[in-house]
Subunit: 197 residues, 2 copies
């Protein structure tokens, strides 16, 4: 196997192992030595590739956001009506969280403290993503199907309930998965942003 492949496999293995520990006991309480043992990586390699423990968390975070963003766009952009679009967003979130609760829990936990570099990269990703989302929304606000609100309120109104429910489910405090109650959450989100008749 080529050096490149070997290396990227080692990095993936470290990230996979780290995610398991992070989502179980949090970043602070997972020991670097456990990650090293479970992944078969050496101290030197780990610090060479990731800089420090937070660096692993950062890599996981950026990967996760990337994956989430691109799949969400796939789910949203084909929708032609406001109602279908809003419900598609919520339903997608529910399924995504239900499918990968470890990664979702990690992203939702907000325990990652990003380096300046990571912040920049994330901001760049966010701008592109935000633009696509914005372009989908504008016509529906113009047409009067959606309420006209301060821009920063759409995400909380549409996704807030779902994210809060997901946090509770991930931490084991309710039985039904987000996927199982997606239709309720989707309808509620739609009711809260549709413009009243």
């Amino acid at each position: 196997m080529s050096r490149k492949n070997q290396t990227s496999e080692l990095k993936s293995r470290v990230m996979e192992v780290a995610l398991g520990h992070f989502s179980e006991v949090g970043i602070e309480r997972t020991n670097v030595s456990n990650i090293l043992n479970d992944s078969g990586c050496s101290v030197g390699s780990l610090y060479h590739h990731f800089g420090n423990k937070e660096g692993i968390a950062e890599a996981l975070f950026i990967d996760g956001v990337n994956q989430f963003n691109s799949r969400l766009l796939e789910a949203l952009l084909p929708r032609r009506t406001a109602s279908n679009g809003i419900k598609a967003i919520v339903t997608f979130c529910c399924e995504w969280v239900t499918d990968q609760p470890e990664l979702a829990g990690f992203l939702l936990s907000r325990e990652v403290t990003l380096s300046d570099n990571a912040k920049l990269e994330l901001r760049k990703m966010d701008r592109e993503f935000g633009q696509s989302i914005y372009d989908w929304f504008v016509p529906h606000v113009r047409s009067g199907a959606l309420l006209e609100l301060p821009t920063s309120m759409y995400v909380p109104l549409i996704c807030g309930s779902t994210l809060e429910y997901s946090r509770l489910w991930i931490s084991g405090r309710n039985n039904r998965s987000p996927g199982a109650v997606a239709s309720i959450l989707a309808e509620a989100a739609w009711q809260s942003v549709k413009s009243s008749p």
Copy 2:
């Protein structure tokens, strides 16, 4: 001053100082030595009173939840209609977060890992609080004013948007405070749980 007062004042000072650091850089990244310097507490006293760093966070957390719960009940229980009650909950949350962003940010961050003891105490508090809330809700669900939903969904549906918006505001990503957009959040929450005509 009596020993008792001196001690409780020291504890408050430590907690106040710790909250400042915690809300600024998180629990992990605040150094015990900084808390010691800024509060004038000694290593021995700190560990005598709080057990460890997490113990300070735990005390802050329990205090915060207690304060939040009792004030929320004061705001909710006098309301006679479903619509007024739901809006009172959301409005109260918005004002509470806006009034004490440090404490709110700390509670919302979920970085505290509770000891078994603290978990028990919190569960007890939660049961009492939950019961009062439940008693207020039941008649409005019976009367058909509110949707009948799985119990675990009311909190996310009513507070999810507000909490998500609050997190964003606290982390500096939008200008208007929750207090300033409370009416929008309250109306949205009401739309999402009122039973459709």
